[in-house]
Symmetry: C2
Subunit: 356 residues, 2 copies
């Protein structure tokens, strides 16, 4: 297939996932209507919050599924949609935890309901309370229904039960990672590189790469060996992705990442860059600037230079490449069908292409 065919195929898959989600939300909204306007609007806002994504997790499910010979694209779209909804649930509750009312420059669920309450005359405290409450509730609904979507995918009992175990693992790991992340803040210090990697793997990589790939393979009836190899590939690529994400959060361009590259520094986000820098001479100069809420452009540039100079950037990029290549090597194992290798190689390439 040439590039245009690939793109068309990808769009076709995405459209199927979108159709599943649209059907799900249409039914939920209709069901919510008798329970009040506010509840209906909560479901609408939840839908629009689910709509913005890149459908990355469904793509992982469908890539594995189709490349392993799966033909029931409807079932795969359903399982993909389940992961998308899980992603929404986790993001919505993550925003509650971080007390964020905006995501990517647009009001999130908390923000939408906060603003709505303010319009109705609520004071700031009450409006924020309303927004946060709506987000807690919406996240619960998304979480519960991610499970429901698997249940309704129409697969056999045995497959359903295994898929549910994978979903279970996705949430179990993500909850652990989220807790470790907030725990870092309480500890106050700078964690070690491997603690950062563990947290990032658990919080994001497991449910974004490892589990969706596994789910796609299970759905396709792949061998145990293939399922395991895909999980291993997903883990490695997922970790690489997180490291690259952290590097771009400091060194990337806004046009590339869609978010400011001062944010992570101002927030003092604990990343592999920082964990590495901690052990260098430059740390004494870096530390006081990190987490400075009013860090200006010149100071940010200075921190970047220090993180570059101390070797943190090169270390992080090297680590990302190491994990990326380790993931690719797994695809080379003889029991991996060539169609699957061809399907997933670009995924790994896309991750690695983001580091120079």
């Amino acid at each position: 297939m040439d590039e245009a065919d690939l793109l068309a195929a990808a769009q076709e898959r995405q459209a199927q996932v979108d159709a599943v989600l649209e059907r799900f939300f249409t039914l939920a909204i209709r069901r919510a209507e008798p329970l009040g306007d506010r509840y209906t609007s909560l479901w609408r806002v939840l839908e629009s919050n689910t709509r913005g994504g890149k459908r990355f997790r469904p793509r992982m499910v469908m890539s594995a599924y189709l490349a392993l010979g799966g033909r029931d694209t409807e079932a795969a779209a359903c399982v993909g949609a389940a992961f998308e909804l899980l992603h929404t649930a986790l993001i919505v509750h993550d925003d509650v935890i971080d007390h964020d009312f905006v995501r990517r420059g647009v009001p999130n669920i908390s923000g939408t309901f906060r603003d709505e309450a303010a319009t109705r005359g609520a004071d700031e405290r009450l409006a924020e309370h309303f927004g946060t409450s709506a987000a807690v509730i919406a996240g619960d609904l998304a979480l519960f229904n991610s499970y429901r979507l698997i249940d309704r995918s129409g697969v056999s009992d045995v497959v359903r039960s295994r898929l549910l175990e994978v979903m279970d693992e996705a949430l179990f790991a993500s909850a652990a990672g989220e807790l470790i992340d907030v725990d870092f803040a309480v500890d106050g210090g700078v964690p070690r590189v491997d603690d950062i990697l563990t947290m990032e793997r658990l919080k994001t990589a497991v449910y974004s790469f490892e589990c969706p790939l596994q789910a796609g393979a299970i759905l396709a009836g792949a061998s145990e060996q293939t399922v395991t190899t895909l999980a291993d590939f997903g883990r490695d690529i997922g970790i690489a992705y997180q490291i690259v994400d952290d590097v771009l959060g400091v060194f990337g361009s806004e046009s590339m990442t869609g978010k400011t590259t001062v944010g992570d520094l101002r927030e003092g986000k604990r990343t592999v860059l920082i964990a590495y820098a901690r052990s260098t001479r430059e740390w004494a100069e870096i530390a006081p600037l990190l987490g400075k809420p009013d860090l200006d452009g010149a100071e940010a540039e200075h921190v970047r230079a220090l993180l570059d100079g101390c070797g943190a950037r090169a270390f992080a990029e090297g680590l990302a490449r190491y994990y990326g290549n380790r993931g690719l090597a797994r695809l080379a194992e003889p029991h991996i069908p060539s169609a699957l290798r061809e399907e997933l190689h670009p995924v790994a390439d896309a991750v690695l292409r983001r580091v120079r």
Copy 2:
């Protein structure tokens, strides 16, 4: 059966539910251990927060199930435990929404983790953030696993699918009720009596009475007619229970309710009492005292006298009796087996006995 036999039977059922939950948590804790001490302790705290309850919802499941001739007490205990876990999830997230760190005088999940962070030197803001984050995560885990427990109850495909629909309805309704409740606060005014009843039914009665009874009947293979009648009974008794609860929140004794009878008045909690009083002459005197955070004993006594004098108390008690009796009348329908009638009569009696 005499009273002693009934008590022994009730304890036996509760012990079976407790055993299911203990097994579930033992496995979860073992699975959490490799992911860190903090995560393991989150699971332990979630378990102890699940342990305190009166196992009311499992009792509803088992009452319906056994009285309808069900014999697989293990499956019924599993479904009962699922409702208990759903209850835990909703309470834990309700506390997040209300920014509560204590429940019944004991630190809840937020409180436990807040205190733990404070011990490690976190300042108040950070400690509260950590506590709230832990509670959001713990509630998610409880919610997701309430679903899992149904799935693992070992029932047939058809029954499982119907039980999951009931659980789905429980969460769907409860989310709507919770949203209406916080919406009352934004509106600021005093809602009408029927709006209060709708909110209380959705937020609590559906998942506490209606759905557990339905689930027990479905599990027992009861007729559609019986399932519907039980749901209707549960709805009526659930509403009666909520009204009684609100009356006792103002007029009850602390020894009876386990909570202060000034709390609801200080908080300005919107109840049937208040909605009724709103339409009386006494309102002018009641309104300024309601929601007064430092309401003292004498003022509280004065509000009680006014709520009594204006007829609000008698109205609420009458309304509770009306719903209670309506529920009881449903049990008299000819398709309800006498064993079920005998089993559920005491439930309705216990609710009504709480109003004079």
